[in-house]
Amino acid sequence: MKDKTPAGPAEISIEEVRHVAALARLYLLPEEERPLAVEMSRILDYVGHLQALDTQGIEAAFGVLPLNDVMRDDLVRPSLPVEQVLSNAPRQLEGHFLMPRIMGS
């Protein structure tokens, strides 16, 4: 994967803000895009200080415990009753979560 990291201070473009917002399913008003780009640039600049550290040959520590593939026996166990599952549903129909249509126009 091509590394897109800027060599200098992080400067997030409006296009990148829109792209990230789409990935994150976060609606943004047009007037929010520039201030968010500026804010994100500041934060990313700060966290970008990590680039100064040499991590050649260092393993990533995704977690601290030496746990791998914690499994349980493949046995059917009781699930949450359907009424409870639906108890916080914004809209429901006949035991299902009712949603807007999938495809846009």
């Binding site: 997030i12 976060l26 966290v47 520590a61 601290v64 807007p100 495809m103």
Partner: protein, 492 residues
Amino acid sequence: MTLYDLTATELAGLLQSRRVSATEVARACLERAEEWEPTLHAFLHLDPADILRRAREADARLATGQAPALCGIPVAIKDNLCVPGQPATCGSKMLEHFIPPYAATVIERLQDQGAVIFGKTNLDEFAMGSSTENSAFGPTRNPWDPKRVPGGSSGGSAAAVAAGLAPLALGSDTGGSIRQPAAFCGVSGLKPTYGRVSRYGLVAFASSLDQIGPLARDARDLALLMQAISGHDPRDSTSADLAVPDFSLAQTPQRVSATLGIPRECFGPGLDARVKEKVMDAARDLESLGYRLEEVSLPHLEYALPAYYIIAPAEASSNLARYDGARYGYRSSQGQDVEEMSSHTRREGFGPEVRRRIMIGTYALSAGYYDAYYLKAQKVRTLIKGDFDRAFGSCDLLLMPATPTPAFGLGEKAQDPLEMYLSDIYTVAINLAGLPGLALPCGFADALPLGLQLIGRPFREDALLQAAHHYQQHTSFHRERPVLAKGAGKEI
């Protein structure tokens, strides 16, 4: 001495010997809450009928003479923990009306012990913040000075214990959210080793960092709560399958032979001189109790904050993807299709800090940036863990400040996210390394509490509790109580 001034351990003694009833204790706490809540706003949900019902059940159990130590003791619960039938808002409009259909493991364990679940406390939205100002339902105020923050994100829990609204509370800690508010509010708070306490039923923020932990007036009370909530849980695949030691401090030896490491990087610029002075005083106090002091170095400590503010938002962006208006929580009325509805839901349901962190996290994980940000930060995490491993080669415990300053004013840091992030400078490294950390009061500056932090080896919360208990047997900072001026905070 009124009931709400007593520690949980003292209350347990009175309850077990039936000199006082659980109903009386619950009433005392409820009356106190009625008096202080208009100013403090520590609670988002407090149901007296439910509390008194639980107290009555506890009394029935206490009457048999076979009740557990926690029976009848009120425990306030941070509102990102699931208690069935009560809201779990996480301080967010997204979950404002969400009622969990299941109990968190820690709640089940508390209920088994007969503890009285005492309301849901205020927090920064989805536990993201260091002041409780990010709550969608208004901030909590510091009982020591209502114009100041109680800290965050477990600000409600810390304030409730400090003000005597409940003797015990549960909080959660991802980057300092138990320890920092404990320090700001003059109470004791423990973040267990990652994996010591089940996260089942804790609304997830950052899965490799989150831990549930106790807040209380002293180490003995922390131990009481730790004993009840700790232990392996098959429903949390990240919970450690290790036996829970006896945390009770009944057998604490009078003198210890242990080495206390003082990391030099924790006492540099940025640390308030008054905090530094009190923490160094505490070091000398502990030395007189038998702890040998040794200077150590954590050379990668300065990279902990940047690493944290990549890893935590990245994990949060994944964990908060579930809030899409589909199955629970807020749903926007805008949008022509599922995608639009979800986008509007998330914009309207989440506050600015949460949205900011989701954006940062998504960016750091996205194609082209994953290696430079997320992967890099996880490698730095290995380096930070390595620093602590080396320090624990010669030390049994580490000592450092809990916060760089005493509690700051409401609104003071709310405008600048980066400034707010800097209040976590002494706490985030501990979450990254998965170590246990305990914050306890060590002095005052202008009538504001100051806290020190003890760090232990993995799964050695017992050593932390012992050291804290030792210190508290010889000091009385933890016995000070705030005095609330009537009507204070109303004009703000």
